[in-house]
């Protein structure tokens, strides 16, 4: 059986779903961040896969690289926020951080 586009897309979909699940269910903000990484990676996979199978040159790979750099920067900011949250709340449990509640 040849590994085709569908397989990659299924993998990426699984990764995405895991990421969403992680964001929705994890209480710890770090875990949420990690789940976010999963989602981004699933996106990367899609970029690369569509670049390979589609009628494209290397735009997909370049986008994937951008995303990775962006993710690194994003994680840095997010961790800084998480640290601030920790300083304010003494925990990073996202369930209990409900200041947005109406």
């Amino acid at each position: 059986m040849e590994v085709g586009l569908t397989h990659f897309l299924v993998l990426s979909a699984i990764l995405f779903s895991l990421g969403i699940f992680g964001i929705a269910t994890r209480k710890n903000a770090i875990m949420v961040l990690m789940s976010l990484e999963l989602i981004m990676n699933s996106a990367n996979i899609n970029f690369v896969v569509f670049s390979r199978f589609g009628n494209f040159q290397i735009e997909g790979q370049v986008f994937a690289l951008f995303v990775m750099i962006l993710a690194a920067a994003e994680v840095a900011i997010a961790l800084a926020i998480v640290l601030n949250i920790y300083q304010n709340f003494r925990h990073v449990n996202v369930d209990e951080i409900k200041d947005l509640k109406g």
Binding site: I23, A24, T25, V94, D95, I97, D99, L100, K101, G102
Partner: protein, 716 residues
Amino acid sequence: MTPELLLNLSIAILIIPLLSFIVLIFFGKKLGRPAGFIGTSILGIDLILSITVAFVRLLYYPDAAMFQYKFDWLNVGTNSIALGVGLDNLAAIMLIVVTLISFLVHLFSLEYMREDKRFPRFYAYLGLFTFSMLGIVIANNFLNMFIFWELVGVSSYLLIGFWFEKDSAANASKKAFIVNRIGDLGFLFGLMTIYLTYGTFLFDEVFGSINAGILPFDSGAWMTAIGIFVFLGAVGKSAQFPLHVWLPDAMEGPTPVSALIHAATMVAAGVYLTARVFPMFTADALLFVAYTGALTAFIAATIAITQWDFKRVLAYSTVSQLGYMVMGLGVGAFTSGFMHLVTHAWFKALLFLASGSVIHAMHHAMHHHNEHHMDPQDIRNMGGLRKTMPITYITFLFATIAISGIPLTSGFLSKDGILAGTLAFAQLSGHWFIPVAGFGAALMTAFYMFRLTILSFHGKPKTHIASHTHENNRFITFPLVLLAILTFWFFYSFNPLDAGKGWFHSVTQTPQIATPHNLMFDFMVQNDQAEPSSNQQVKTFEVTHYQHHHSGEHHSYRSTLEEYIHHAHTPAMILSLLVAITGILLSFIYYQFRIWDVDSIVNLYPWLYKGSFNKWFFDEIYQATFINGTVGFAKIGAWFDLNIVDGVVNFMGTLGRGLGKITSWFDFRGVDGAVNLTAWISKRLGDIFRQPQTGIIQAYLVLTIIGLVVLVYIFI
């Protein structure tokens, strides 16, 4: 002395007692006992002046009209109300009467009131009283008369209630004032009608206008009404039936006050007023006056018979004698009526002062024997005072004889004249009740006066107190003796049986009648008046001189009535002597010799005795009708005011508050409710919509994704 000087002196006589009042009311307390001497000496001066004025007037100007001094007191628009003083023969005689009795009372009180703690105050009040009384005497107009009339009322209020710690005294003074006020109300009506009709209050102007035919409301009935209105004032002040009830109660005042007020001055004021306004009475008014007097004389005498209180007997005797005077004036025996006022003044003052002397002696004896529960005024506790108090007894006896109408006394002269007048009047008009009441009262007077004398002075002392009494000192006995001398006949007429030729009659003749002849008894119309006067100026209230040609049998009478009175003189004298002696004899039979028992009569007619003893229940009847009626009205009024009138006001208030409550409820529930409802609804909606806003980002995410999925599902 000129008339002007006489008038000025009369004004001085009027003012002097007022000065005494002012000085003593302000400085009396500091002065203490000397206040009494000051008051007495001031009155002494007053007395000397009065005697001078009176003698000059009576000797030099006996025929002159009233000397007058008047000034405008109030100028109202075109009208002016004048006040003033006037001096005529009546006033001159009254000046002496008032000042002499007032002076003697002052003197008497120096001893009698010696131990009273408000001694100076008493003298101040006496001064005020004398002032007011003199004001009445020398008034020349109705308003002046009314002013001093009221002042007399007040000063008597103060004097009767002098011992105001006693409730009975305070009640008596109040009663006296209010009963007098009822009479004054009539007087006031009279004043109003007079002012309305004549626009003036001066006696001469009013009588002049009446003489000129001006009648109030052009009606003879109103003319009668004016007379009766003014006479009502006299009814109050002179204690005539039916307003006589205050006088006996007024005996609560100190005894000298009783002598002053209730014998000689205040009560005489009514008679004096009646004499003053005599010209304006119509036939009907005179009849009213005569009947009032006759009824009073009779009723009061029936009450006096059964009383046990020394002063009460005298009080009712005063009422009865005042009835005589009024009756005398009413039947047209003007001179005798007025003369009785004077003679009665002396002997009644004497009786009261003598009773004061007795009470004072009893008091002292009681005090001496530490006896405090006895009534010193009850004649049942006296007896035998003849021995212990000889001067008082003798003088009292003089007065008793005089009041009973025995010849050689002053009382006989005047009483006989009145009785002759009633006989003549009855002959001419047919009103026989009047002489019957007059003679009946004369009988009873002789009886109860001797009963009083016998029970208190004769026989054996009934209590040990009575046996230990002593004659009082000269302050008390001097007035008694002086007054006793004045009960002799020769002061008034040299003929002890007929006053008609004496000086008194010649200076106080019946004044001309001012009322139209058709309203008057024709027998009272005077001859010299019937002819039209050549002098157009009306000379009313002027004592025209008796026509001086009664040589021998030849008389010329001024009116038919005078002629009849002259003829009735002898029968009246015999009759009155007869009844007087009968009364005295009965009195001796029952009380001195006890031949017949009094109780047998009492038991024979117990209701008569009870009625008389309880003053015919006048007080009770008035209490039940007028007083309770007024008080009832007042109660109803006060209740009505508090509950109905104010109730309406409060109801309006409550109504307003109720309406307010309703609107405020509506405002709260209705108007404000609608507003609150919208707010409530939005809140509920908000509550619903805020439910998804959990604040948990993850939840939002999930929802987003679900939404996304749904959208994808819908659109793809």
